[in-house]
Amino acid sequence: MNSEAPRIEGRIVAAGLTKVFGQIKAVDDLSFSVEPGSVTGFLGPNGAGKTTTLRMILGLAAPTSGTGTISGVTYAHLPAPGRMVGAVLEATSFHPGRSARNHLRVFCAAAGLPDRRADEVLELVGLTQAARYAVHGFSLGMRQRLGLATALLGNPRVLLLDEPANGLDPEGIAWLRGLLRHFADVDGRTVLISSHVLSEVEQTVDRVVIIARGRLIYEGRLADLEGASAGVVVRTPNPDQLSAAVASLNVKITPRADGSLAVVGATPEAVGRAAWQAHVELHELRAGSSTLEETFLRLTAEPSNPPGPSA
């Protein structure tokens, strides 16, 4: 659906993005779009392929297949990428011995921006006091702010931030939320923020793109997510028989903490009918009412095994 989408200024489009590292498909035929004037959450557990996807969109990694575009062109073809796109991939892109100000000035020079821009963005992220100190003494929260400052140097239309809330204190998260909302609502910029914790960005984002194991799980408004996937809660002494009985319904079954099962993708009526037809004993059958975080965890859970090693 994305490949024929019109070339909207500031829109990010992933079309069939795939990245294979040796035997591992880190990103698997991933398609989604991120619209200007919105804050979109890019969610998935650690190792789901979020950073790899961002690296492909940003031209740092070549896709095995598929394309990532911003404003309708690949990153390498953007006329002035430093002024169009600001991105932070994890808050570690600093030389520890370089001061915050010098770090920013290095990139001011590369982007052809005046040096005073470094001081402006330091002010914007609240690091003016720390400008002359070497980055090695910075807390994770300060590094996040400096990373954001680097991304904002060129006053970009499009912001891609990888785990920007990581290491920020509650006050910092509230500040970040206000800043990102302002960018999207007032300036009409495109903001994509990744996170492995939905609750961290829940109050900031309008839309979400959820991936797991490199594949798209859900794309759409956050408000639609809860109802769409609340699922059915079933309790049975014969879970294997139930799995077989509902197999034809094309559902996803995950065990819940209390020993019951969550069946996603079917109505309680359909599950009840399938169980009755297969003579499976049920002790409980009801529509699930889970929190957003539970929904997220259920959507992104490994199909059968516990979560694998994260990358």
Binding site: R55, L58, G59, L60, A61, A62, Y75, A76, L78, P81, G82, V85, A87, L89, E90, T92, S93, F94, H95, P96, G97, R98, S99, N102, H103, R105, V106, F107, A109, A110, A111, G112, T150, G154
Partner: protein, 253 residues
């Protein structure tokens, strides 16, 4: 391109290491000069007297030892980007990766020339008053002392370029630095004594550099300075092209 050069220049000058390497190069050059002048004429020293052109050129060649530091600076210039992930903002701001590498190569060469100039100036500053006190005339032109300094500069600058190429090939900073030093001090001398491959020795980077600076490498048949210069230039080009191609083709970490 000017913007990228300014950016790369700032990268070198805003970290302590760039200055530390310069101090190291100056210290090594000074040590070489002082040791050679002080020991000249001492019992058991076979060096020709200070008035001899070859001795004067050999003392000047001490500045050439800065190539050890310039090759490391070249390596650091690129590997530090991968080590601290500054490669990401660097290549986000300029996705035309070839230009970034060209800027790095140019800045590396400039840094090498500055190291060479500083070391040559220090060498001259130690030599001139000392020789004057000893009533020995330095033949800056007639004895080829200045020309020898120009040769040193060339070697130091080309080795900085080689360093950038090595840094692209071996992205791990520690491995690249140790690898180059092991190569120059262990592997290359080994080649010179292994019968079958020793004929290739004069064409290796370290030996070619020594052919220019006139640094002592035992009694091996060297190329002359111009031939050595051409060979070393070839190595510089080879590593520059390797770095350029690999940076364009590989994913940025």
């Amino acid at each position: 391109m000017i913007d990228l050069l300014r950016s790369e220049w700032r990268k070198v000058t805003t970290i302590k290491l760039g200055w530390g390497m310069l101090l190291g190069a100056l210290a090594l050059a000074a040590l070489g000069v002082i040791a050679q002048i002080a020991s000249n004429g001492a019992r058991g020293n076979i060096a020709l007297p200070l008035s001899d052109p070859a001795t004067q050129r050999s003392i000047t060649a001490s500045a050439g030892s800065a190539y050890l530091f310039s090759v490391v600076v070249g390596i650091i210039l690129i590997t530090t980007e991968y080590r601290h992930f500054t490669s990401r903002p660097t290549f986000l701001i300029e996705p035309r990766r070839g230009r970034v590498i060209v800027a790095k190569l140019v800045v590396a060469a400039v840094v090498g020339i500055i190291y060479g100039l500083a070391c040559s100036a220090l060498t001259a500053a130690i030599m001139a008053p000392w020789f004057a006190a000893l009533h020995v005339t330095i033949g800056w032109i007639s004895n080829g002392v200045l020309l020898s300094m120009v040769g040193d500069l060339t070697v130091i600058a080309i080795f900085a370029v080689v360093g950038v190429g090595v840094g692209v090939l071996v992205r791990n900073q520690i491995a690249a630095v140790i690898g180059v030093l092991v190569y120059l001090f262990v592997l290359e001398p080994l080649v010179s004594i292994i019968p079958v491959i020793k004929n290739a020795y004069p064409y290796l980077p370290g030996a070619a550099g020594a052919a220019i600076t006139g640094a002592s490498r035992g009694n091996l048949t060297h190329l002359d300075a111009v031939q050595g210069g051409l060979v070393l230039l070839g190595w510089g080009l080879f590593f520059a092209v390797c770095g350029w191609v690999l940076t364009i083709r590989r994913d940025i970490l």
